[in-house]
Amino acid sequence: MAISSKRITINLMLIAVVAIIPVVEKYVPLGWHISDPMTDVFVYAILGLGLNILTGFTGLLNLGVAAFAAIGAYVFAISTCEIYPFQLGFWSALGLTMAAGALAGFALGAPTLRVRGDYLAIVTLGFGEIVKDVLVNMDSITKGTQGINPLPPPTLFGTELSGNGQYWLFMGIVLVVVAGARRLERSRIGRGWISIREDELASRAMGIRPDHAKMLAFATCASLAALAGALTASRLSSSGEPGNYDFQISILALCIVIVGGLGSVRGVLLGALVMVGMNSIVLVKLTELIGGSDAAPASALADAHGVQWALLFIKTWAQNVLMSPTNWKFLVFGLALVLMMIFRPEGMLPARGTKEDAPDGDDGASGATAVANKELRP
């Protein structure tokens, strides 16, 4: 498949635009602080790319990817923090973290090879809860909910990076991961994964060993998720608390992958931008713009009657909860998810085979997802 030069051009332009954001931001005082949230986007993009390999390529639903991020963050923290004797450097700790992540991936993947579809989903979900619980409960090792700090910031050739340095380093890592994901996708490993997603039985009958392929997918996913966790920890200089890696984060990662377009690397990047951006940029801006209202005046409901009562009731209620923009965040987020799915069920940038390719009015879904769908059936 020849990649058109136009596409390369567009990609390079996009990379350049993203790369100069921090500089532009500094010189064009719009009051937009987006380079910092963008760094979060990069981390979530890595998490999403990892999950994409497992769920997007291989078609295995994973609801516990945050657990791998937690493992990553804590392995990184324990191996680098000054309150432990190990005190590795940033890059060696990162390597260790990814290895530990891969090992955890094997540990989860191996016993659950036979478990399929939604059963696998709950196994991964359970794994997530177990990891979280273990991190909280083994507090003599992990400091429980205290979090481990300080952690070394990212370094490059011996210099500590902060602000824009981190931005570019993380962006670079994302690019490396994207390249890696693409390379795997377009090699026999990726073909094996996708063939399992498309039709596990047929791929078996063609001599693909699904166990091997799935284990590799699990390990790759886990080690990328661990990388994302370690990078976050390093950026925040703290492992955070185990609660920061709970089910909601796995869900967020899953939403990034599906909203972006299952199995599509570009889709995942866009998904991360939209999902994290929505939270870190749009919702924050929204809060700033609306401000909040204060006062819910003393309730005079007891004295009021009839229509007046009803009006007062609604007014008090509105002032109690509805006027505060922070109270709307879940709703906005949820509504955005539902609407995105209704209007673009195949994601924003579906993998391959968009509707136009479908011969005779396919069922409307992207084939990739439709088939993944079939495959996930128990």
Binding site: T55, L61, P111, T112, V115, R116, D118, Y119, A121, I122, L125, G126, F127, E129, I130, D133, V134, V136, N137, F247, L254, C255, I258, V259, L262, A296, S299, L301, F313, T316, W317, N320, V321, L322, N327, W328, K329, F330, L331, F333, G334, L335, L337, V338, M340, M341, I342, P345, E346, G347, D363, G364, A365, T369, A370, A372, N373, L376, R377, P378
Partner: protein, 348 residues
């Protein structure tokens, strides 16, 4: 008998390596170890039956459109808020005697109807447009719906009513009035079988029987089973598939409604975040029993309840989640499609 008890104690002690601590409980305490065990069993069964009732709603929806309905737990949460509103608005907690019983039944049925209709509407708005999309898109839509429901619960909690503490802190947990007192209905030794335990039994058992009847013997039930097996085939046979799916959502939701009232009466606390755990437990129960399988959901629910109870009682409470999920994973390793789930066989 003495010997059995001693053996049980020994086993518990050795498994925990906390021989002295456990021994101390049994010796100094007011309760004998048998009483403790029985009490834990009672608690586990009651909790388990509530979970089972929610799990049935889960598993029914799964059975028919293969959707892990993430919004189910949060639907139950809204049901609890609805029930609380009804109780608060009508002052049901002040009704006494037969009136009280009537009130209870009314709240149960009303909440069931509310949850059923809500579930039906969610299906209509958030899931039906995605009928032909991939299952994962549907899943994300369900996640979105769950977020919306959570937020609605947050809003609801701010209603300026007495039962919601005049709505001054919408996010705080709310007390649910004790329509059924927690006083013992029966007491054997120090084992308490409270009236709320009895309530759980009195609501869940008939519902399970009724549901079994409905699915097995009614026309709707047959249609549901047909759609679950083969939607296309069912529609060719003249079954209105969408109507059957809608009905399933309604029935699943209303079972959730019954469950949530029982849950609220049992725990006497509701909060806008309780849906997560309710949904999670039900999901585990459904999967443990074999998702899509009704008796499986009941078995799974009761097992989860009892395991939780025993783990709280004999291990440390902080490890209970780990124990539950550990057992779940173990069972799935040896029985990949749940306890009662049919063995997967792909048609080639």
């Amino acid at each position: 008998m003495q010997r059995t008890v001693a053996a049980a104690e020994f086993l518990a002690a050795s498994a925990l390596s906390q021989a002295d601590a456990v021994g101390a409980f049994a010796r100094d305490g007011l309760l004998s170890s048998q009483e403790v065990f029985t009490q834990q069993l009672v608690t586990g069964l009651s909790n388990g039956m509530i979970i089972a009732l929610i799990a049935i709603g889960y598993t029914m929806v799964y059975g028919i459109i293969e959707l892990i309905n993430f919004a189910h737990g949060d639907l139950c949460m809204l049901g609890a808020y609805f029930a609380l509103t009804v109780v608060g608005a009508l002052g049901v907690d002040h009704w006494v005697g037969a009136g009280g019983l009537m009130g209870l039944v009314m709240v149960l049925v009303g909440t069931a109807a509310f949850c059923g209709s809500l579930n039906w509407s969610i299906n209509r708005l958030a899931y039906r447009p995605l009928r032909k999309a991939s299952k994962l898109s549907l899943l994300v839509s369900a996640i979105g719906a769950s977020f919306i429901l959570v937020n609605l619960g947050l809003f609801w909690g701010g209603l300026p009513m007495d039962v919601f503490a005049n709505g001054t802190s919408s996010a705080a947990p709310k007390a649910f009035p004790a329509l059924v007192s927690a006083a013992p209905a029966a007491q054997i030794g120090d084992v308490i079988y409270s009236r709320t335990d009895l309530l759980v039994l009195c609501v869940t058992l008939p519902l399970m029987v009724a549901l079994t009847y409905l699915v097995r013997f009614t026309k709707l039930g047959k249609a549901m089973r047909a759609v679950a097996q083969n939607p296309t085939g069912a529609s060719l046979m003249g079954i209105d598939v969408e109507r059957v799916i809608g009905a399933t959502f309604f029935i699943g939701g209303s079972l959730g409604g019954f469950a949530t009232v029982v849950y609220s009466l049992y725990n006497q606390t509701v909060s806008f975040q309780m849906g997560y755990r309710m949904g999670m437990d039900a999901f585990i129960a459904a999967v443990l029993g074999g998702i899509g399988n009704l008796p499986g959901a009941v078995l799974g629910g009761i097992l989860i309840g009892v395991i939780r109870s025993m783990s709280d009682g004999y291990l440390e409470a902080r490890w209970t989640n780990t124990v539950v999920f550990g057992i779940l994973i173990l069972i799935l390793v040896f029985r990949p499609s749940g306890l009662l789930g049919a063995k997967l066989r792909e048609k080639v």
